[in-house]
């Protein structure tokens, strides 16, 4: 018996985002947005009316990720226009968007940790120098003060 693999039926959509689509994107990606200084989102349309979902992030509410629907295909791009993923299933694409967001967050944390370590190192070096100077001064002054007393 021959089994024919049918292609899944792809629904051709046009016009703005449907409520279901928006809910899927917001519910998956927005837990981040509830924190102060977290993410935000907005929607827009292209010149020919294809809908876009923009995920905005600090510090200047700039687009971090953009999801667009072109015909029956969803496209995920980063803020520089690089296509990260494309698929006809929105749920799959939103999961990819979430993973991209988490990866980005990890990079930010790693960078912050690096800056913190460098800062600590610098402060410790300077503090050591001050403490050593203080000890020298004390060693120099104490005998003199003792002699005066």
């Amino acid at each position: 018996m021959t089994v024919i693999a049918f292609q899944p039926r792809m629904l051709q959509l046009d016009g703005p985002w449907r409520t279901g689509e928006l809910n899927a994107m917001v519910e998956t990606l927005m837990p981040e947005a509830t924190r102060p200084g977290g993410l935000g989102w907005d929607v827009g349309l292209t010149e020919i009316g294809d809908p876009q979902f923009y995920l905005l992030g600090p510090p200047q509410d700039e687009c971090l990720l953009c999801i667009s629907r072109i015909g029956c295909r969803y496209v995920l791009e980063d803020g520089a226009g690089q296509v990260l993923f494309e698929h006809y299933r929105l749920s799959l694409l939103v999961e990819r968007a979430k993973a991209a967001l988490q990866k980005r967050k990890a990079q930010v944390v790693a960078r912050a940790a690096l800056v913190w370590c460098a800062l600590r190192e610098t402060v410790e070096e300077r503090l050591d120098a001050v403490v050593l100077d203080g000890e020298e001064l004390l060693a120099h002054c104490v005998p003199q003060l003792a002699a005066l007393a």
């Binding site: 827009g44 876009q52 600090p58 200047q60 687009c63 791009e77 226009g81």
Partner: protein, 101 residues
């Protein structure tokens, strides 16, 4: 009166400037007689959606592709970059091009 040094643009101000940059780019594209799809083709993009992202004021033209955008829109690259800098980083633009000794 002395100017206050600004270390970072506030989000609403940056957003408004990006929106104005987008409107300017849209105008340039219209003058060049190109659709978003045609501009994307000239820039070698797979999809035209990034053009819309930038024109709607949510994204920026990446520095590395400014020259390609300028040529696609038939505008001199340095003038194009300078104008975009006035939107994307007005303080740097002021220091580079407006402050006179």
């Amino acid at each position: 009166m002395a100017r206050q040094i600004q270390f970072a643009k506030k989000a609403p101000e940056a957003k408004e400037l990006r929106r104005r940059a987008g409107a300017w780019l849209k105008e340039l594209r219209a003058c060049a007689g190109l659709s978003q799809i045609q501009l994307a083709e000239r820039l070698g993009l797979k999809y035209y959606t990034f053009i819309s992202q930038v024109e709607n004021g949510f994204g920026r033209v990446p520095t590395e592709s400014m020259e390609a955008w300028a040529r696609a829109l038939a505008i001199e690259p340095s003038a194009f970059a300078r104008r975009l800098l006035s939107f994307y980083d007005p303080e740097l633009h002021r220091l580079l091009f407006e402050v006179k000794e």
